[in-house]
């Protein structure tokens, strides 16, 4: 492991200062970065430990948006009634991350900034069209999550910038959301493919809006826009969702690696898109308009 300096800011102001130094990187829960340091895959000059910053650890209903602080852990998200009520897909995803130990340390900000194609919280956030509040010493900007993650392990964050919080607008009307992950085992499983969907139904029970995101089937987690639009106006049934699954296969480019094959990923992606949509629609149907 390369040597580095270690800083532990007590608040966001100090964090901004610390991060403005060249070669500074955040250490949040450390569940991604520590293994990377050990393997020599990352060599920051300064590690800035954000675990002491309480103000980055919150889940809030701000009326029109739900806001989650970057330092909120997967365990906190999984246990949050607010998330469970307003983004069930995210709750399921957070609950599926690693093991209890991983969930109690790993953070939402870390999951996003690490930009793994298999990151489990990204699909549920993408289908809610989440945005990310980014700050640095000189100010802040808000960007759609979709434009932040640009490649495997790559984000559009600039030196000195950090994720402050993530927010999304709750769905209204007759809506549902769900998340499904296919792993190689039940515990501590990294996704071979994962999917999230939201479905909103109109008064007649047809789809007025659908969102689908797939992970581990390309360099970044992606929204399947053609699948989404093909669902508009449809009366949801299994056939429709199976066709949507087939459509989604057209929109992704999985690869063969140590975890799975291209063929299997493509196949499984279609299966879980159909299932995740069906579960979301089922939820929507059960909700009063």
């Amino acid at each position: 492991m390369q040597e580095f300096d270690y800083l532990r800011p007590r608040n966001v102001a100090e964090l901004k200062e610390n991060l403005s130094q060249p070669g500074a990187r955040i250490l949040a829960g450390g569940t991604d970065i520590i293994p990377q340091l050990r393997r020599g895959k990352s060599a920051p000059k300064i590690l800035v430990d954000t675990s002491g910053i309480r103000s980055l650890r919150f889940i809030e209903d701000q009326g029109d948006r739900v806001v989650i602080g970057a330092m909120t852990t997967h365990q906190e998200i999984a246990e949050s009634q607010l998330v469970s009520d307003l983004n069930p897909a995210l709750r399921i995803a957070a609950e599926s991350v690693g093991s209890t130990q991983t969930r109690c340390r790993g953070t939402l900000g870390g999951n996003i900034a690490n930009a793994s194609p298999a990151a489990d919280t990204l699909p549920p956030l993408l289908v809610y069209e989440a945005s990310v509040l980014i700050q640095n010493l000189s100010g802040e900007r808000e960007v759609p999550l979709e434009s932040l993650v640009i490649g495997p392990g790559q984000t559009a964050l600039e030196e000195g910038e950090f994720i402050h919080s993530i927010s999304f607008r709750p769905l209204t009307g007759r809506w549902g959301s769900h998340f499904i992950k296919v792993g190689k085992r039940k515990g501590m499983a990294i996704s071979v493919v994962n999917a999230a969907a939201t479905v909103v139904l109109d008064k007649k029970g047809s789809v007025s809006k659908a969102r689908v995101a797939l992970g581990a089937v390309g360099p970044v987690v992606i929204r399947c826009r053609e699948t989404e639009s093909s669902l508009c106006g449809k009366v949801p049934d299994r056939k429709v969702f199976e066709k949507a699954g087939e459509q989604a296969r057209e929109e992704v480019r999985p690869i063969t690696d140590i975890r799975s094959t291209e063929e299997y990923r493509l196949h499984a992606a279609g299966v879980i898109v159909a299932r995740v949509l069906e579960a979301a629609a089922e939820q929507a149907r059960g909700r009063m308009g």
Binding site: P35, S99, V182, K184, R185, K186, G187, M188, I190, T256, I258, R259, S260, T261, E262, E263, Y264, H267, A268, V271, I272
Partner: protein, 753 residues
């Protein structure tokens, strides 16, 4: 024999449980020492390469570096190995697998050692590697060793398979492929060596056989065995992977070179590349039977990948071969087994020792046969199982404990019915499968298999066991303590096992082969009798009564007049006269004439077997190809339970290992490297174990065992994978012949398009 035992059969909490649970146990890597130097190993970055030049000049100049050691510096034997001495402690001229040790660096700090390691310059000329044993046996394959790539071969048979297959109405023929499996123990290999002022060396090891380490160190350092003292620290699992010496030799070499104290600890990655793993194998299996299901013939050909060095390969091949007819009567048999060198990391001993590979073939083939002759999986097995007195193709006669097979099947039938009654959720398909298992005990006839242990009665009345074979974490010490307590009629709490130390502990032989409770137990039953005799002799002298008129019972010496005196009174008096009450006993694994073949068709036949069966229910997601084991019952005969918690723990752990073999574990080649971390080497987690699990223990007494006990260390993982494969077939009629069973294979989507 009355069953009124005080210790035997109880579930005792091991004496090391608490300190392990709270993290206080001291493993080799934790032992506190002064003036410690750090050893790190520069390992081969290539699978196969010629070493053209090793330049250590920059490395020796790194501040804090004390020694940079290559093969040239080894004063004695430069190679080691349990059966064939073919493995260099440090490679010279050529490296034969990724991660092979080439240079050992010793420094005052870990940082300096690592920095120096980076400064060593080695020029390699890469050679073509070969990874598959079927390719390695071809004439034009790269040759790893002077005598070719076939390390050993076994050709054994009985009857005439040609006749057997003529008699057959149906034939099943398949090739089964088994993956490379890591023992995956929690504690990576470690060793600590201290060079003493008197010119001796003391070495702590995490090893299944410290006495082999002692011999290997003595050979490498070219110094007499009695100047090498080896001690066992707490061991964090072994499962066969710690039968070979490795770090112990290098730590001792480092300590000798700097005349100081050196510790070496493998990282997880180094551990994956260095320790022996379960042999990957291809088994071509052909089974013939009559219409009624009676098996007439088996013909099998097996190719095992032993990696770059032999390790225990030739011995593993024996059990792999001997179990080729599983738990069944087969009149005509032919088996050809080849152990092959490849440039893969080492394969060697691992829990099951060849039998898991074979059982996957045998038990899968049996279900395929059952389908063809329209019998159910229980019927086909009932028809063919071994019975007491049957002779198998190695001419070994199976003893009375084979009764257990019939009992296992009876219980198995009930469980199959019970599991079939479980409703299947919508969208899933379910299936039930069974597999039997036979696992040999002991090292095999003609292999020295003596085990010595010593008891000492301390002046305070407690009894110390000088346990000659290490407890690897499986609970050997507790079993030894229970057997000693029972034999002496004293409480379990009064008996304590001591850590192994070659200076004072007798040689108990290597901890392996499902035989420790049996060997150690028998030796301690005998040592207890000797200890009582020694007590009575001492008491007789003090009382001035002939010893043969005294009796002993439950910690009391009984005088002829019927009065009782606590034994501890004599022991403490004798201690004042500097007389220590101790007794040593050696037990040799028996090879009775009635069951052991006189003319050996195979080098070292195993004659005593453990038996078991497992019943599995799976739910399959037919669209995703995922397989979930929802129910599992493990039925195992142990002869007699010594520590109930220990037996249950062994069976549960074995089942978990078996499930990993079935569904997720494989150490694949990954680009230029191998899977070398627990991120990609997928052990089952707690969540992956079946929600409905039961252990069913049978006790068919083994008359030669202590209190009727035999072994259970290996067999629990043997039937699991074929039982899962059979259940999967039952559910979706897909037969998987190469492990692990992955969703990709279930759906036929495992090929790269």
């Amino acid at each position: 024999m009355t069953e009124n035992y005080q210790s035997i059969g109880k579930g005792v909490i091991r004496k090391d449980a608490w300190e392990k649970a709270v993290g206080k146990a001291l493993y080799t890597a934790d032992l506190p020492v002064e003036n410690l130097s750090y050893g790190v190993i520069l390992r081969s970055p290539h699978h196969h390469a010629r070493i053209l030049e090793i330049d250590t000049s920059a490395a020796v100049r790194v501040p804090g570096v004390q020694a940079v050691i290559t093969a040239e510096d080894i004063p004695g034997e430069k190679v080691f190995g349990p059966l064939i001495q073919d493995q260099p402690s440090l490679a010279w001229e050529v490296v034969r697998h990724l991660g092979e040790p080439v240079v050992l660096v010793i420094a005052r700090s870990l940082k300096a050692a690592e920095q120096a390691r980076e400064s060593v310059k080695i020029r390699y000329q890469e050679l073509e590697p070969v990874f598959d044993p079927l390719e390695a046996v071809q004439a034009d394959a790269p040759q790893l060793h002077p005598d070719g790539n076939v390390v050993s071969e076994i050709h054994v048979g009985d009857g005439d398979p040609e006749i057997g297959f003529q008699e057959a109405d149906v034939i099943v023929e398949k090739t089964f492929s088994l993956p490379r499996i890591s023992p995956g123990y929690m504690e990576p290999e470690a060793s600590l060596a201290v060079w003493e002022d008197d010119g001796t060396v003391t070495v702590w090891v995490s090893s299944q056989h410290p006495f082999t380490d002692q011999a290997a160190i003595s050979a490498a350092l070219n110094m007499p065995v009695d100047r090498v003292r080896v001690k066992g620290a707490v061991i964090g699992g072994a499962f066969g992977g710690k039968e070979d010496s490795s770090l112990a030799i290098l730590a001792a070499l480092g300590a000798w070179k700097i005349q100081g104290t050196v510790r070496l600890v493998n990282s997880r990655r180094e551990s994956f590349l260095a320790h022996p793993k379960r042999h990957p194998a291809h088994i071509h299996y052909k089974l013939g039977a009559r219409k009624d299901g009676t098996i007439t013939a088996v013909q099998a050909e097996a190719y095992m990948d032993t990696g770059a060095y032999a390790s225990y390969g030739p011995a593993v091949a024996m059990i792999l071969t001997e179990t080729m007819t599983g738990s069944y009567r087969v009149p005509h048999v032919r088996v050809d087994t080849f152990v092959v060198y490849t440039n893969s990391p080492l394969s060697g001993a691992m829990r099951g020792f060849g039998s898991p590979q074979t059982h996957f073939a045998v038990e899968s083939a049996l279900d395929m046969l059952a389908e063809k002759v329209e019998l159910d999986p229980i019927q086909i097995r009932e028809k063919n199982i071994l019975h007491p007195g049957d002779q198998i193709f190695t001419k070994v006669t199976i003893n009375d404990s084979a009764l257990a097979l019939t009992k296992c099947l009876q219980k198995g039938r009930e469980l199959v019915e019970e599991f079939r009654a479980v409703p299947t959720p919508e969208g899933k398909l379910s299936g039930v499968g069974i597999a039997l298992a036979a696992q040999s005990m002991g090292l095999g006839a003609n292999v020295p298999d003596d085990s010595s242990h010593k008891l000492e009665w301390a002046p305070d009345g407690s009894v110390l066991i000088y346990l000659g074979s290490p407890d690897l974490g499986q609970g050997l010490a507790a079993a030894a303590e229970q057997i000693t307590a029972e034999s002496l009629g004293i409480p379990f709490d009064q008996v304590r096992s001591l850590p192994l130390d070659t200076l004072v502990t007798p040689n108990g032989n290597v901890t392996c082969a499902s035989r420790m409770t049996y060997l150690v137990g028998n030796a301690l039953v005998d040592a207890s009798q000797k200890l009582i005799q020694a007590l009575l002799k001492g008491a007789g002298r003090l009382l001035d009564i002939p010893a043969d008129q005294l009796n002993y019972q439950n910690g009391m010496v009984l005088k002829p007049d019927g009065s009782e005196i606590p034994a501890v009174e004599f022991i403490s008096r004798l201690a004042e006269d500097s007389i220590t009450l101790e007794a040593e006993s050696t037990f040799s694994f028996p090879y009775p004439e009635e069951t052991t073949p006189q003319h050996l068709p195979i080098g070292m036949p195993h004659v005593l077997y453990c038996f078991g069966a497992q019943v599995v229910r799976v739910e399959v997601d037919p669209d995703l190809g995922t397989v979930e084991v929802t129910h599992l019952a493990a039925i195992h005969d142990v002869g007699k339970v010594i520590n109930r918690l220990g037996v249950e723990g062994q069976i549960e752990g074995g089942v978990a290992t078996g499930l990993g073999y079935a569904l997720s574990e494989t150490m694949l080649r990954k680009g230029e490297s191998w899977v070398d971390s627990f991120t990609e080497y997928l052990l089952p987690t707690a969540l992956d174990l079946p929600e409905n699990y039961q252990t069913i223990i049978l006790e068919v007494p083994e008359t030669s065992g202590p209190y009727g006990a035999k072994g259970v260390g290996e067999i629990p993982l043997v039937p699991t994978a074929p039982a899962v494969a059979n259940a999967l077939y039952d559910a979706i009629q897909v037969r998987i012949c190469d492990l692990p069973i992955t969703p990709e294979k279930v759906l036929g989507l495992n090929k790269v398009s």
